[in-house]
Structure formats: structure tokens, C-alpha cells
Symmetry: C2
Subunit: 314 residues, 2 copies
């Protein structure tokens, strides 16, 4: 999408402040007084980031969760949010507000403010959220991976993508997969616990392979991903199996909102211990080496990169 | 617009944090580790908040300026912004980015981050901005007016509303008025200087009368506005004259982005001195008394309130 690349290229010189991290990270990091603020803004567009038939409560959850996922990737605890809301159908709006309230309570986040607007008829609903978090320790970036680091991912990959196909009627019904598309879980506790240990961390929103490629590019290393190690859920295996094609689907589907992170090899045991403590799978899926770009294998076999690594939108 | 009132009523219980100020102020005030952050989020919708034919550079300016105006009303200095941008036509996007950069430089504000999205065809462009500011001193609210206070407004009122009519072809061409609609001036220096002096302050965005009525309601006082004292520009007088009807137009038009504030009467002289220092008119337009609601007069004559006080949108 060259329009977006052009636009971001025009904006990058405006983001000269160190806090902006060159617009290439999940969030901005602003040191003010003695406080380390982490700020992110993500939008959802009806028909692009959620399905028009998705329940409003789930859309509300997703709007909050995708932003909290950016905070999680930076090891920040959420403080509050400001929402930009486009009014539409009254019943939908009310259900959205109920769901948004439930999600805020679940994550212990305050609604600080925002704006509501009416929109001309025929306009797709556009929702924006700014999340403000506070980091007590170091804030990992995407660019810190060093050759020799091992790569991990949290949870399971590909469920949300399969869930979208379920909801479109392309796969048999599966509540587990649909829920993973509609209600991503921001990995806040894991992000906070991992932040002091990792060389680099980001959330997987556009697809494991494309996000790993971005991490490799930002860090100036080569990242190799072993498809055979990509963690799949039972629901995913039931729907799509775990052959190479299914694994490629999982690794390029996006909407996972899991954490992708790199640690020096001597910390791999600490990560394993943390996985037990958090009751969350943290799976070793690859390693970084000197070089550039992304490498893909399946067990011992080297694979060519698929043409599409994930979503190219921002 | 009952949809919006319902929606805000549903959200208000979620905004229990003191920082949210009950969603009834221009901005949220977040105290974090010795730092007093002021946060606001305002959106612009094509065809609602700006004209589709407005130059993209001016839309960029306006998106920044309306948010900085909220910071000004809270006496905060801007630190940075996060933008939610809907991509459209490439040339428009590029011109917007140029204009946005120029506006950021003019106000010394950093772009910290944000999101870009594509939208389905036919969707009106929706832009969102979160502005982060820092207040070194007290942060005035809308609710601090006391009986006996005098009311002031900065700059001139009604120009932007007249400018919109110029741009719609309803009034003869006037660059000065059109510029006031397209390029509002956030009163940042005045806001910072006034914050320690005022009992209450807000920006005038929806119309002087409706915003004064909101200030009266929030403060639990009656506010009387003297139409004869409402400051009009030469350009406004040329276009519309200064008879009572024109003054009512000015006071209900909105988009002024001037500061409305109350001070105890003994500080009126300090305000006058500040106006000289800032080279910005600060005009006494009324007073607060015990009671409720808004009162309107024109010189000595008491007037009934007009049916429409300003824009009811948020």
C-alpha cells in the first residue's frame, strides 16, 4: 500500500523526538518528570478490523484489547484511555458502552476522556483509542535483537485468523476460534514480567512472519523461524490440521495479539520458568543470527518465504 | 442528539477516576509521579467539522489546533500528539502531512505516534488526535465559577462562524473570516498565563452562549452575558454589522477556539494588564451571580435566550 508508505515517510521527519521511536515501534515512550509514560493509539474500522455483524460488546473489547496489547509489548501497566467514538445506531452504541465498561473493569483501566462524533450516512464506523500506560522499568523496543538471541512467542498462533474464517463461513463453527478473533487477550502480566529480561519485544498483530521480519529489520539481524515450532491450539488443529500449509496460514494470519520477543540464550530457562508462573505457553520458535531478513524452516527443511507474510496495513 | 446523551450517560460511570473530571471538562488531568499531565482527544469528520473542499494543509492545522485549544484552556503546555489517520487520496494525504508538519513546528509539538487505516469506499474521512500536555501549576476546570466573578473572553467571537458562511457562498468573500474558520489559533500563551488567576476556564468551541451555559451548569451559578460587550472583529462587522441579530449570530456560531474564563473582580485589572502583555484582547463580557442558568442582555435590555445557543454535538 504505497499511499500509506508515502504518508508514513512524510511523517517520519516530524517524529524526531526520541519518544516517538521513529514511528517504528508499538508505542511512544515519554519520560516526563520521573515518570516513564507509554502511549499508543490504534483504530478499528468497521469492515476492515472487525466484521459489521460482530457483537458491539466484542468490538468494544477488541478496541481496548488491541491497544493494551501494545502496552503489554512495552512492559507497561495500563493507566487510562481516551476514546474517539463515532455514534451510530442507539442500541449498538448502548451495547458498545456496556461492553466497553466491562472490558475496562476487567483490565482495571480508567476512561479518562475522548470525543464523540456523528458521521454522514453511509460512513463505516471508525473508532479510535489512545491508551496511556506507565512503565516501572526498561521499555523494550523492536530493535534490540542481537545475533545469538533466541526468539519466543506467547500463547498460540493462528487462532484469530482461523476464527475470522469461521465467522465468514469458510470454516466449520468453532466458538474457541471465533472468540480469539473477537476477544484478543492482551498479555499484560507476561509483558510486565518479560520486559526486564528481553532484548526486544513487540506484539504480533499483522502476522507472525511479517512482524518477525519487521523486528529483524529494526534490529539489523537475521531472524530464522522454525514453522514446526509455531504453537498451535487444539481448536486450530481440529479446524485446519498441522501440516505445513496450515502452519503457514497460522504464521501469516495476524490478529494474534501475542508477544514476540528475543532473549539471550542463557535466559531461556528463566523464560520457561516464567511460562509456568504465568500459566501461559512461551514457545521457542527461532533464533537470530548475523545477517539480514527473515529465514523460514520446517524442522530441518529450509523453506522459501511465502509471497505474503501478513497484513501490510499499519 | 439523544443518542449522544445516552451514550455519554452510559460512559460516565466508567469515568470514575478523578482524572476524567466526569467527562465534563475539556481535558483529563492525570497526576503521575510528580507530573501533571493534561490529555485530550478530539476528532474531525469530513463534512461535519470541515468542508470537503478545505485545503488539506488547513485540515491538518485545524486537527492540531482544536486539540491544543483544549490544552490552552487547562493552562497546559503541549508536549506531543498521537494521530489516528484515515488514508484516502495520495495527493491529499501528502499535502496533509506537509501541513501537519508545518503546524507541529509552529507550535513546537512532537509527533509521538498513532495509527493509519484504510477505509471502505464512500466513507467520510475521520481524523483523530490525542494531545498530551504538561501543566506546571493548577489546572482550571469549568466548574469553579463563584457568584461575583466577572467573565472574560479572549480574541473576537463569531469570525469562524461567519467564515464558514463565506466558504459556503452565503456571505461575500473574506479571507480573514475564512482563515478564522480554517485555521483557529489555540490561545496557548494566554492559557498558561491565565491558569493561576482564574476561577474557571474553558475554550469556546460550540458557541459562546452554549459554552457559557455549560460553565454555569458545572459551577452551580448563574452567568449573565452582555451581548453588547461581545468582541467583534472589523471583518465580522464588515460582513454582518453589529446589530443585535449579528451579535446573536456571533455568540451562537461556534468554532471560535477562544478562551472563556471567570476571575474574582479584584483580578480584573490584572487581566487587563495581561491582555497588553499578550497583545490579545481579553474582554469583559459578563458576570456570575447566585442562581442557575444563563442570562442574556444587550446593554441595559434583558433578552430572552435564543432557541439555539450553539452546537449540541460533543
Amino acid at each position: 500500500m504505497t499511499g500509506e508508505s508515502d504518508f508514513l515517510a512524510s511523517l517520519r521527519p516530524l517524529a524526531a523526538a526520541a519518544a516517538a521511536r521513529g514511528l517504528a515501534d508499538d508505542a511512544a515512550v515519554l519520560e516526563l518528570g520521573g515518570t516513564r509514560l507509554v502511549l499508543t493509539h490504534d483504530m478499528l474500522v468497521e469492515g476492515v478490523h472487525y466484521l459489521p455483524a460482530d457483537p458491539p460488546e466484542d468490538v468494544a473489547w477488541k478496541l481496548l484489547a488491541v491497544n493494551l496489547s501494545d502496552l503489554a509489548a512495552k512492559g507497561a501497566a495500563p493507566v487510562g484511555v481516551l476514546m474517539g467514538y463515532m455514534l451510530g445506531d442507539n442500541a449498538w452504541d448502548r451495547a458498545f458502552a456496556d461492553g466497553f465498561g466491562a472490558a475496562l473493569r476487567k483490565f482495571g483501566v480508567a476512561l479518562l476522556g475522548g470525543d464523540t462524533v456523528a458521521a454522514p450516512a453511509g460512513t463505516a464506523r471508525v473508532l479510535g483509542l489512545t491508551a496511556v500506560g506507565e512503565a516501572k522499568g526498561p521499555v523494550p523496543s523492536r530493535s534490540g535483537v542481537r545475533a545469538g538471541d533466541v526468539l519466543f512467542v506467547s500463547g498460540t498462533i493462528g487462532d484469530a485468523g482461523a476464527g475470522l474464517r469461521v465467522l465468514k463461513g469458510e470454516l466449520p463453527a468453532s466458538e474457541a476460534l471465533a472468540a480469539r478473533y473477537r476477544r484478543p487477550e492482551p498479555r499484560l502480566a507476561a509483558g510486565e514480567a518479560l520486559a526486564p529480561l528481553v532484548s526486544a519485544m513487540m506484539d504480533v498483530s499483522d502476522g507472525l512472519l511479517i512482524d518477525a521480519a519487521r523486528m529483524a529489520a529494526a534490529s539489523g539481524v537475521r531472524i530464522g523461524i522454525d514453522l514446526a515450532r509455531v504453537p498451535l491450539s487444539d481448536a486450530f488443529r481440529t479446524a485446519l490440521g498441522d501440516a505445513q500449509g496450515a502452519r503457514l496460514d497460522a504464521a501469516t494470519a495476524g490478529d494474534d495479539y501475542e508477544l514476540l520477543f528475543a532473549v539471550p540464550p542463557e535466559r531461556a530457562a528463566t523464560v520457561a520458568a516464567l511460562a509456568d508462573l504465568l500459566d501461559l505457553p512461551l514457545t521457542r520458535i527461532g533464533a537470530a543470527s548475523a545477517g539480514r531478513g527473515l529465514g523460514l524452516s520446517d524442522g530441518g527443511e529450509t523453506l522459501p518465504l511465502p509471497e505474503r507474510l501478513g497484513w501490510e496495513h499499519g
